[in-house]
């Protein structure tokens, strides 16, 4: 076993497989980024070529910054994603704690009811959601998107987190109770830090679909002031003419913030995994 693990051939093979996978996964991103720095002609003539001194152009970025309020879209996307994640984690963790910790009538039923949301896509209810938003006057506000994304993310969050909450030592919670901590303090100070890796997982799972979503911004908040980045980039895609330079530049810039958020959360993820392994 040990010998096999150390064999250079196996190590090389494992690395080769992982490297191939990395290349395949990163290639489309790479193509988008290089093409965003090329002239329109160069994009179509040689899509895979690196930008040279002749083909280099920042026209795409210029268009993006000139046309439409790119920073506002960016800010909207950021607000919606961060707020949604915050509420998903807060309410998801609280519900999971209640389901895992307290014995009450209908506990199992409640858990199943919450898990139902995993199986039924929220987009089925789009018309009803739109009607509700119109009735409450939330159409064209970021609040509408935050509420919908929170609802969309909660079922999986509750499902994953309640499993992890069950693993937190009962003795620790009871020690807190005997020392006079309130249930809220026990939750925030003792339990949440211990399930942080699970919360990071939930955050990563939810972040990317929210950031990339086009459906709900288009339906619930299409106004100029509330457009998200994904929706804002759509102005460059027309039925007959598409401004590829601008589209590629917008997409390249859209990758950055998700990447930063991912790095923050994934560090938590890895820390959680290793702390368990070397215990």
């Amino acid at each position: 076993m040990n010998k096999a693990r150390r064999s250079p051939l196996n190590t090389a093979a494992a690395h080769a497989i992982l490297l191939t996978y990395t290349l395949i996964a990163l290639f489309p991103v790479f193509v988008i980024v290089i093409n965003s720095f090329k002239t329109r002609k160069a994009i179509f003539r040689e899509p895979l070529a690196l930008p040279s001194s002749e083909t280099f152009s920042t026209i795409g970025y210029e268009t993006v910054f000139k046309q439409g309020d790119f920073f506002l879209y960016f800010q909207n996307s950021m607000i919606v994603t961060v707020c949604s994640l915050f509420f998903i984690l807060l309410f998801g963790a609280m519900a999971a704690f209640a389901l895992a910790e307290y014995r009450f009538k209908g506990n199992t039923l409640m858990g199943l009811y919450l898990a139902l949301g995993i199986m039924i896509p929220i987009r089925i209810g789009t018309v009803a959601i739109l009607e509700m938003m119109v009735a409450t006057g939330l159409v064209n506000t970021l609040m509408a998107l935050i509420l919908v994304y929170t609802a969309q993310g909660l079922p999986l969050a509750v499902f994953i987190l309640s499993e992890f909450m069950k693993q937190v030592s009962d003795d620790l919670k009871n020690a807190g109770r005997i020392d006079g901590l309130s249930e809220y303090t026990i939750f925030f100070r003792l339990v949440v830090p211990l399930v942080r890796p699970a919360m990071a997982t939930v955050a990563v799972f939810n972040m990317i679909p929210i950031w990339n979503d086009l459906w709900f911004p288009l339906i619930l908040a299409p106004a100029e002031a509330t457009k998200t980045l994904t929706l804002g980039s759509q102005v460059f895609i027309g039925q007959f003419v598409t401004d590829w330079n601008a589209v590629l530049s917008a997409l390249s810039m859209a990758i950055l913030p998700v990447m930063i958020l991912y790095v923050i959360f994934s560090r938590q993820l890895i820390r959680g995994i290793t702390s368990g392994a070397v215990k």
């Binding site: 003795d171 005997i178 020392d179």
Partner: protein, 332 residues
């Protein structure tokens, strides 16, 4: 004065009855040990006393006050858990002071209590460390320190030594006994280990299937067990039980005889083949098979050379034996 009084405590989870009609009194300054096999309800009983579980029926009085409706933090108790249950994000000092801070005690008092507890448990050098930087024994001392600083009316210990290795377990046991002498505090201690029960307790409560089997001082229970269960549970190696018929007694009775009261004698009451010999240095345990599935453990003091497979006779003094009827109740 009574430190703790339980009256007719019952507890059931759904249809499963875990505790049945438990009555108990703990005198102030007394060290009471709940002992019993796993699943007998001893930990549940401790949780009911602590207020972490509600009793289905019955009352819990701590220091003369009925506390059924009082939350755990206000009952005047402190608890030490098997898994230490230290707060991972706080230092040793933070762990010990948290409860006092929650009660809103003055800084001087907190500092004084921490100084006293850490001196008692020799934790002075570790006050700034976090639980993850401590060894198992040190963690358990911090958990005990966290209980001491509160100066509770009643200490509760939930199998505090089960996670420690054998050598450390003995040291910590002695430490707990010393603390009890120094603090003169009332303590309730749960364990499944009969050695801990015998060595620590002023009073042992033997539990089985949620019922109290017998209450008494360790020697009372050892010398005068009320039934076959208590007789078999206390003492190591445990008591031998033989059908009385084999030894020429009445049918249906069981004779109980402790391993140290049996002699190996050529012309004894019964004879059998030695199947195994355990040499411990201080004493020697000999397992003798009398046939028909009757195996008797004989404990000889000091070192003896007994051959396995040799045939030996066993004998004992009638006065040292107990007899039980078929329901397990003591007859004589």
């Amino acid at each position: 004065m009574t430190a703790l009084k339980l009256t007719n405590i019952c507890k059931s989870f759904g249809k499963v009855e875990v505790l049945r009609n438990i009555d108990l009194e703990v005198v102030e300054g007394e060290f009471v040990v709940f002992v019993g096999p796993s699943g007998c309800g001893k930990s549940t009983l401790l949780r009911v006393i602590a207020g972490l579980e509600d009793a289905t029926q019955g009352t819990v009085e701590i220091g003369g006050e009925i506390v059924n409706q009082v939350p755990p933090a206000k009952r005047g108790i402190a608890m030490v858990f098997q898994s230490y249950a230290l707060y991972p994000h706080l230092t040793v000092e933070g762990n010990m002071t948290l409860a006092l801070k929650q009660e809103g005690q003055s800084k001087d008092l907190i500092a004084e209590r921490v100084a006293m507890a850490s001196r008692m448990l020799s934790l002075e050098d570790y006050l700034a460390r976090r639980p993850s930087e401590l060894s198992g024994g040190q963690r358990q001392r911090v958990a005990i320190g966290r209980a001491i600083v509160r100066e509770p009316k009643l200490f509760l210990f939930d199998e505090p030594l089960s996670n420690l290795d054998a050598a450390l377990r003995m040291n910590t046991r002695i430490e707990i006994a010393r603390l009890h002498r120094q603090l003169h505090a009332s303590m309730v201690y749960v364990t499944h280990d009969q050695t801990e029960a015998m060595t620590l307790a002023d009073k042992i409560v033997v539990l089985r299937d949620g019922r109290v089997e017998q209450v008494g001082s360790p020697m009372e229970l050892y010398n005068n067990p009320a039934n076959q269960f208590v007789a078999g549970f206390l003492g190591a190696p445990s008591m031998n039980f033989l059908p009385a018929e084999r030894l020429g007694g009445a049918a249906g009775l069981t004779i109980g005889i402790r391993p140290e009261h049996i002699l190996l004698d050529g012309a004894g009451r019964a004879s059998g083949k030695v199947t195994h010999v355990e040499k411990l240095g201080g004493d020697t345990n000999v397992l003798v098979d009398l046939g028909d599935g009757c195996v008797v453990t004989v404990r000889l003091f000091r070192q003896h050379d007994v051959e396995t497979d040799s045939v030996v006779g066993i004998d004992f003094d009638e006065a040292d034996s107990f007899s039980f009827d078929s329901s397990g109740a003591r007859v004589s």
